[in-house]
Symmetry: C4
Subunit: 148 residues, 4 copies
Amino acid sequence: MGGVVHTHSTYATAWAARGEEIPCVLTMMADEFGGPVPVGPFAIIGDDSIGRGIVDTLAGSRSPAVLMRNHGPFTVGRDAEAAVKAAVMLEEVARTVHAARQLGEPLPIDPAAVDRLYDRYQNVYGQGSADGADAVNGPATNAEEAHA
Amino acid sequence: MGGVVHTHSTYATAWAARGEEIPCVLTMMADEFGGPVPVGPFAIIGDDSIGRGIVDTLAGSRSPAVLMRNHGPFTVGRDAEAAVKAAVMLEEVARTVHAARQLGEPLPIDPAAVDRLYDRYQNVYGQGSADGADAVNGPATNAEEAHA
Amino acid sequence: MGGVVHTHSTYATAWAARGEEIPCVLTMMADEFGGPVPVGPFAIIGDDSIGRGIVDTLAGSRSPAVLMRNHGPFTVGRDAEAAVKAAVMLEEVARTVHAARQLGEPLPIDPAAVDRLYDRYQNVYGQGSADGADAVNGPATNAEEAHA
Amino acid sequence: MGGVVHTHSTYATAWAARGEEIPCVLTMMADEFGGPVPVGPFAIIGDDSIGRGIVDTLAGSRSPAVLMRNHGPFTVGRDAEAAVKAAVMLEEVARTVHAARQLGEPLPIDPAAVDRLYDRYQNVYGQGSADGADAVNGPATNAEEAHA
């Protein structure tokens, strides 16, 4: 783990203010986070309690992101760029699941499907086999996709 | 059908996360989609289940857009440009109907009016009889309009 | 009345989809619209019913804007520029009152205060007596303000 | 107090329309505002009632911002730049707490923690001991942060 990013991005911070994890109800969340985004403890800046809270919370999760209670998101990655990408993806899913929840309950994704999506995206797709094009001519019968 | 576009645009994806079709409560939806935007099945990338889900769902609809469950929208068109336009219009109506629903129930549009709007926009208006100007001097007593 | 503008701006169209007038709960609404923004009838493009609906609805109101049911806003002005300004202000108040209503009921403004605000803004302020500066050094004890 | 800024920023104005103070449920609010953002009285432009309302309301608060009822936010600072910064931070917290409240109740922050955060940010951090970097390589075990 070489990179850490902290933001106060609006929707991730809103989930953090309620101390509520973001449920994994989107295939793009399964791809990138491998499950829900967990919540870490309330911690005040100035000693090592934020750092310990992040490490302890992420230890029990595949997610590269944690929502520190009443504070905001922290994301980690093998380098700063990966951590920034996770922060951007986090805000996108935080906002989309927020919108979904405003008008009812999002449908759950079967845990086996979450595992399969995460494995494919991290291990297969990540090795450069796709072209990243989202707009193609002809039916997308065998689609691959990358997330900006 | 020559173009397919897939996005994770926020509001269309939020409806997809709930597996809920977007009701046709705006005249611009009647113009462009000819009715509600339907929901397709949950399908994992990697085989042809997404492609079949899109085709099967659109077969029963005038809409060029489908909300794949827990995943996001796919739009089709005679070429890539038409599919991109449908994707942009879809997010606009997804967001507007979302906002309408947040504070109550939008009023339904009579199905005969939906048919009349769709027919005029696709068959009459589409043949270039209007000038696309939305800001005009003088009362808009006989308005025509195009959607960007 | 020399200018008419029609948009599908998100929040004004959301109120129109519910067929619900926007209540006058902001001083900037009293300034610009002189009361609530009214709702006009459902009307299909192609004959003069939209034009008549706009004229009839605005006849009973000080507002330069009307929300046509299931369709969207139309604004009028002495010229196109004034109608565009009204359209921009309308979306701003539609969005702000939407946000206010999401978490409770906005407080009403006394009708006599609405009249006083409208009269000052249209008749006194409109004659160029203010400088339009919103950020000033020193306490704003005698503030004047213009709306962009 | 040398600077005063007034805006109609959407979310702060929405809280003002309800006449509801913004609760201090984010660490960045504790840092910058030292507690909730208070509500001032309804006052009409044209005499000194807005100025008096601002001064009276801020007298009982550490907040540099006040939400004038049905009108919008006013912020103060030692100069215009500080007042502008407070206006920008205010809209950010108004929007984030709005989003948090849309899906439930934000968790409160212990008043002693609010005091400690406010004191550190205003008195220690403000003296230039931190570098303002939010993206760092290595774990943020002893994080400092500045708010843009």
